[in-house]
Amino acid sequence: MREFGYERALDVPGAVAVLGGDPEARYLGGGTNLVDLMKAGVERPARLVDVRELPLDRVEPTADGGLRIGATVTNSDLAAHPEVRRRYPALAQAVLAGASGQLRNMATVGGNLLQRTRCAYFTDIGKPCNKRVPGSGCPAVAGEHRNGAILGASEHCVAVHPSDMGVALAAFDAVVTYETAAGPGMLALADFYRPVGDTPHLETALPAGALITGVTLPAAPVAAHSRYRKVRERASYAFAVGSVAAALDVQDGVVRDARLAFGAVASRPWRATAAERALIGGPADADAYAAAADAELAAAQPLSQNTYKVPLIRNLVVALLTELEQHGPEGAR
């Protein structure tokens, strides 16, 4: 077998120091994606630095009324946390919409952000993929791309980011904190993932060797009034073909505040800022919701097999905002 080194880190500076600048090393969280990719030969790290034992497993309120979520908090614990459920229900719903119970018990917040696309060309080392082997080509554009991106993609890559959690985080202005040998740093989630362009293999703006230590969610009253809805090709245990996180604050029939982010449409969780701008200050009705979705989707460039994603996202936006307005974050749909 391909041998690799394994070390368990006990504190953050130690983890960063052990990994050092080694480009052949990877941090290991729950391993629910990295280990699969190692088995498939997609990832071939020389060393794994296990960060699961780091003291980053807490969800804590921040002074300004937000939440700080440690990088090694498991998906299960995140979704079950009462403050997450109260302040950011869409986040809890998004996490529970992902994977299976067993995987959620293992998977971590930090790993979730760094998981790789499930594009079938990326995971098949017998085929080209610009993300896996830069410059080898993207066969998905001419081949199978039913679950490909419709926003922000390029001819070099049409893969989508698979995270559900990330979609809710994007809606709520999450900030990713990290540690490097040079000290701590932070990145707004909006800046965390790099544009695809002609470098789809460069996925995040994290500095080399950086270890994600957590995610901070700023206070957002509107977030308490939020929902997540995921559509997939079976009822469970599948990645989204389209998903929406939405938050809505309506007073006297007028939208005071709104948040929208889309999943499975781009190489990253897609914050729908154009849609939000269209909503805020306008009427809280289905026509306005549809117009807002259209404002965001005007930039969509679907390929031959994924034109359906445009009406899908549009319908989801209308449905979710309508449900929020009529039933709140939970209840009948």
């Binding site: 391909r2 060309y121 081949g143 199978e144 079976r234 599948a238 899908l312 319908n315």
Partner: protein, 706 residues
């Protein structure tokens, strides 16, 4: 005189005899049986879709840690290429390492054997194979050239075109089903060793004598020199016959003279163990105003490899199903640079029933008739083509009982009228059928001195509960309790027997076991009660008994009912209820029979909504050929499924068993597709019914309404 009747064991629900061993892990599967000096083989599959192997540089790999040998066309022994076995010629994939030709993507080009599985895999991935690539074509387009009608693949009665022209209502629709894979829970695996001049094979297969004889013939060995055992099998569904890993393992074990194991990965299972071809079907039905069919026309096209003709015989479904004045049914095949398709649960009937039973629903809609009434109207009294009587045909009883339980009488026939929240609700129905055959088998029954009995037959329990079914059949035939009967199966030394296939296992093996048991009882009556230490053994073959069967149409039938909830804004289809009522002869073990039917219906649901293997035409190979990419129903997709049966007796049949292994998957997808129409008003003629297809249908409706 009074007798104390022993209660029958047949007909009583009974858990599997080996169930405890399976759930506790005590049951050993083919890749789990320990051997000393075991070596591990790893197959190297072609990365090109057509061409020739230019070179295999095995020197570097032979030097890697643990590597024992590398087999390929340059050094492998030649095997016979004209073997014809119990089920015809072995799959062409067995002809590995015999030539430099690559006929399709995934063709095994080498085997690396090493001391551990990890060493073998690493070396296999390091093996450099260079190819002279040739253009390939894996397409299956409607207008593709090269399609032909195989022998005996066309049935004509009367003049279909004339009857269509004379019909009051005509339905003409095209349906497709995609490539589908068995992918049993237990991936294919085999362990081979030479033992005292005998080749011992520990396998996961559907017929140990079948595999043993084909292996012996391929390697020019005496049939008695090969012994194949397959004690436990984690699913097979048509894919577990003799394949390339058996042949490669025998070659390696012979060269190394030590045990060799090959266990396939899931992706290898997708690449080299067969699959169900995609189909493209056209159904034309012509009817009088009262629903009587004047014309029944069914054209099917399936794909095969360039190596062998395999026909996914979907056009056969209607030949026993419906009466019509004129009938035309034909299967065509298109060769492509792909692996050879093979039997997969209800080959032919599964895709064929989707097309025909969807078309019948569409015809009922056009006629303004209830879809069950349309089927009643066209119920034949004898084989529509053959004119032979049916051994028993209780399809209408299935519909009657199913309609009662499902509440069909209360159904509003209009589409798109039931709504619950955001979801549209619909119900649909379909008929199903599957042949009930029997094949000669040999069984031995031994009366042991301690009063117990031992049954030996080369049956295969592929998860169906066959071992348990044979135990209770033997117990009743021996007039003893099942606890006193020990059934040993899946050992080629027990003689020739039918395979676990064609829904014929329980009927064929059960017949042999019952016949041998009766012969033994006669012997024991003659001999008196004294049993010698070696026991008294009787061996019986059923060839003559089966030959005496009257010529009849022998089929199981059933009615499938489905309810779906469709969110047309997202395209999500959820099946909320499935009911199947079957007429499948005598039910041996209600518990495992129901499990077979529910399993088949679950697969039918999966076929309707999920399953689809995708090939990239550029590379000629699959995309997403693993369980992340190839979706089948998850638990959350499967509602409570009810499967039951109506009495279906045939006093003229000596065993009365019809088989339940495959009929459950037949018609299910059509019932679901018909329910989706009833819910949404849009016909879904292409499987699987994915969210994107439902959304596009909605867009089409909006376009038409505008």
């Amino acid at each position: 005189m009074t007798t104390t009747a022993k209660p029958d064991a047949v007909g009583v629900a009974r858990t599997r005899i080996e169930g405890r061993d399976k759930v506790t892990g005590a049951a050993r599967y083919a890749s789990e049986i320990p051997f000393t000096e075991l070596a591990h083989g790893w197959l190297v599959l072609s990365t090109i879709a057509r061409g020739r192997i230019r070179a295999i540089d095995d020197a570097a790999v032979r030097a890697l840690p643990g590597v024992l040998t590398v087999l390929h066309h340059g050094n492998a022994p030649r095997i016979k290429d004209d073997v014809i076995g119990a089920l015809g010629r072995p799959d062409p994939i067995v002809e590995v390492f015999q030539h430099d030709r690559v006929p399709h993507a995934g063709w095994p080009v080498a085997l690396v054997v090493a001391g551990t599985s990890e060493q073998a895999r690493e070396a296999a991935e390091a093996l450099v194979v260079t190819y002279d690539e040739e253009p390939h074509d894996v397409s299956f387009d409607a207008d593709k050239e090269g399609a032909y009608v195989p022998q005996d693949a066309e049935t004509v009665k009367g003049d279909v075109e004339a009857e269509l022209a004379a019909s009051t209502v005509v339905l003409d629709a095209a349906y497709t089903t995609p490539e589908q894979h068995h992918s049993a829970m237990e991936p294919h695996a085999v362990t081979v060793r030479w033992d005292g001049g005998r080749l011992e094979v520990f396998d996961s297969n559907q017929g140990s004598k079948w595999v043993a004889d084909d292996l012996a013939n391929l390697f020019s060995l005496d049939l008695s020199a090969v012994r194949v055992r397959s004690e436990h099998v984690g699913g097979a569904f048509g894919s577990k016959g003799l394949r390339s890993h058996h042949v490669a393992a025998v070659m390696a074990a012979t060269e190394l003279q030590r045990p060799v194991r090959i266990a396939l990965t899931r992706r290898q299972v997708f690449a080299i163990t067969g699959y169900r071809s995609p189909t493209a079907q056209r159904v034309r039905l012509g009817a009088d105003a009262d629903g009587r069919l004047r014309a029944f026309a069914h054209e099917n096209r399936s794909m095969t490899s360039t190596l062998r003709e395999f026909v996914e015989g979907s056009a056969g479904f209607g030949r026993t199903m419906y009466d019509s004045v004129a009938h035309h049914s034909v299967d065509r095949v298109v060769p492509a640079d792909v692996g050879t398709p093979t039997w997969m649960r209800a080959p032919g009937e599964a895709p064929g029933s989707f097309a025909v039973e969807s078309a019948m629903d569409e015809l009922a809609e056009k006629l303004g008739m209830d879809p069950i009434a349309l089927r009643v109207r066209n119920e034949p009294t004898a084989g529509p083509i053959s004119g032979l009587p049916f051994s028993s045909r209780n399809l209408l009883a299935c519909f009657e009982e199913g309609a009662r339980r499902f509440g069909w009488a209360d159904r509003d026939p209009r589409p798109r009228v039931r709504r619950e929240g955001n979801r549209l609700i619909g119900t649909g129905v379909a008929a199903c059928t599957f042949p009930s055959g029997a094949a000669p088998s040999t069984a031995s029954v031994t009366a042991e001195p301690d009063g117990t009995f031992t049954v030996r037959i080369t049956a295969a329990d592929v998860g169906t509960g066959a071992r348990t079914a044979l135990t209770v059949l033997a117990a009743d035939a021996l007039d003893t309790a099942p606890e006193r009967v020990h059934v040993r199966i899946a050992d080629s030394d027990f003689g020739a027997a039918w395979v676990a296939g064609g829904s014929m296992g329980t009927r064929s093996w059960g017949w042999a076991v019952m016949a041998a048991a009766r012969d033994l009882r006669e012997q024991l009556t003659l001999r008196g009660t004294e049993i010698p230490a070696a026991g008294v053994t009787v061996t019986t073959n059923t060839a003559e008994l089966i030959a005496q069967l009257a010529q009849k149409e022998r089929y199981a039938f059933g009615a499938q009912f489905a309810e779906v909830a469709v969110d047309v804004t997202t395209g999500e289809v959820r099946v909320t209820r499935l009911l199947g009522v079957f007429a499948a002869g005598r039910i041996v073990n209600p518990l495992t029979a129901r499990s077979q039917l529910v399993g088949g219906m679950t697969w039918g649901l999966s076929m309707a909504l999920h399953e689809e293997a995708v090939r990239d035409e550029t590379f000629g190979s699959h995309v997403g050929a693993d369980f992340a990419g190839y979706h089948f129903a998850a638990n959350a997709d499967v509602p409570v499924i009810e499967a039951d049966w109506v009495p279906d007796e045939d006093p003229d049949d000596p065993v009365g068993i019809k088989g339940v292994g495959e009929i459950g998957i037949v018609g299910t997808a059509a019932a679901i597709a018909n329910a989706v129409w009833h819910a949404t008003g849009s016909r879904q003629r292409h499987l699987p019914i994915r969210p994107d297809r439902v959304l596009l249908a909605e867009a089409d409706r909006a376009g038409h309404d505008a």
